[in-house]
Symmetry: C2
Subunit: 345 residues, 2 copies
Amino acid sequence: MKPGTTVTMEPPKVRAPNIRDVARLAGVSYQTVSRVLNNAESIKPSTKQRVLEVIEQIGYRPNQAARALVTSKSRTIGVLTSQTAHYGPTTSLHAIEDAAREAGYLITTTSLSTSDQGSITEGLEHLMAQAIEGLVVIAPQVRVFDAFRQLALTIPLVTLDSTGQDAPRSLSVDQIAGARMATNHLIELGHEDIVHVAGPRDWIEAEARMRGFLDAINAADLRTHRPVLGDWTADFGYHVGTELLDFRDFTAVFAGNDQMALGLLHAFRNAGLDVPGDISVVGFDDIPEARHFFPPLTTVRQDFAELGRRSIALLVGEIEGEEDLDHAQILPELIVRESTARARR
Amino acid sequence: MKPGTTVTMEPPKVRAPNIRDVARLAGVSYQTVSRVLNNAESIKPSTKQRVLEVIEQIGYRPNQAARALVTSKSRTIGVLTSQTAHYGPTTSLHAIEDAAREAGYLITTTSLSTSDQGSITEGLEHLMAQAIEGLVVIAPQVRVFDAFRQLALTIPLVTLDSTGQDAPRSLSVDQIAGARMATNHLIELGHEDIVHVAGPRDWIEAEARMRGFLDAINAADLRTHRPVLGDWTADFGYHVGTELLDFRDFTAVFAGNDQMALGLLHAFRNAGLDVPGDISVVGFDDIPEARHFFPPLTTVRQDFAELGRRSIALLVGEIEGEEDLDHAQILPELIVRESTARARR
DNA sequence: CCATGCAATGTGAGCGATCACATTTTGTGA
DNA sequence: TCACAAAATGTGATCGCTCACATTGCATGG
């Protein structure tokens, strides 16, 4: 085999303007230009003006790599998210991007297709290779914390989780309260046999909703079966709905999210049952489509955008060493529509 | 120099190890370490091995900023996306992230909350400030191209659009064909009065679907009203569905996406109409929930993940100067479920 | 009129890597 | 045995910027 012939293409002569080009054209030193770029104080307004004009004129853009190299600050925040196209995480992500951009930070996202330890570690490594200054974990699974600890990472971390106790810094919608609200709503309607279709085992959110459900059940001195563990999809809701009808007696279902609720509605309809006449169904999230389900879904609304914004506020605060950060939980809201009614007796 | 005389008691800085630390510990020059990092050819296996061991041992991570500075390559791809939590764009985005990571590129995303020219330009500027080497535009609106041209950007661009003619490099699901398939399906069922509820005016995808619809209508010598322009949401579908019933005669609706179709189903059901008995409805996208709508929705499936993967293949190919890139359109697929039936006469 | 002090601006060094080229080591055939 | 090319490794310069410190300009007061 021939030795690797490295095809070195002649780089175009057109080099991007640098700080010295600006300095020369403005008739100042490069340090003065640097001061203008960094809003230093002792700069004569007329000088600043002149420099800014040159920058504008030649379309100068500061080289972030050079800046990052010398300051060892990347101004980049990493986001680790699970690879789901769900409404909640996506909405939060958009809000995070907006908020970060506004705070002058850059976002790099890595999504996890699988939730095994290996891919989590790999995703984290990928982000760390970019020298991120902070990390946001959306829809976190418990294992993320293990991976984080294992890598002995020291950057600030904010998780959009639920319990607020696993991670030192976390932020969340109070999902336990939300689940309690949903369950109590059913209890108040007279339901005594309520099934909970939960999310996957290792999702913190799933666990919190389950806990809220069980809290409410216990407080009302009711009994229940062990919650069914699902995968958040409508398909799962449909299948479990079909199966449930075969071997369980119940008058209401509290689904861990709206998609699974949709599948349940489908299954019950197929079986000739009326919702809410025969069975009441409650979801969680209040995705924009929930009000157009048949019947329109009673669910728990979460403010995902607010969650995203606050997570960045928290993280940036921590990166920049501020005190008194706002960790308060966000309260969800019960939205009663037409999928719930008094229990038949 | 005399060994032993210099007591190296440097104050242990909390500095991350650099290439020279590795070199010293491995007993080679920094250049050799660099060669190992970049998989250069002429490295003795034993040397390489030793260097890799040191790297592993002290947890050395190459500094991307320094590398980017000297190579003027950021290995970063920007993604510009609209701030919607919709299934399609989100799925593509995840696929893009995966594919990019695999190709050794980093993704930074910017989402546009509004679609005015200003915010598009701002979003592009934000990405350019990171020296991105390529740009992927998801769910592009026509104005993005104007902004791109106006900034006189010279980096490779791939758009996940539909028509494939506005941009020099674009990749798409053949949405015109998809819309034609959906419409022909209705025509074959004997429908003669078909309404199209389209997406927003400045979305290329909306336009392509509209064009496919009109093509099919014309080919069948049918007449139709001017399509209604919507906003992709279920809410809009619901409202327009209610209004349509008041002043138009039709037996079928082709909705620009599944969400609007869901809203239409809701509106028709509210009016006491049966789908598909009285009215047939077709959607577009095949979101995972579509099969659980009431009734399960006939729709056009797009392979969003494949689209995302191919967009990165295309972009990376272009960045690295390859030839023979695959621009072939991806064919969508008609999924017939229960929301369509023969026209009543 | 000059020492003083502060505001404004300039100079040299270096962040951590790669590039181009220089140098040493190794392998080969005459 | 030795010239000599190829393989392996080393040295100096440099990317664009910020840092720490040095220098200049200019009003002020004694």
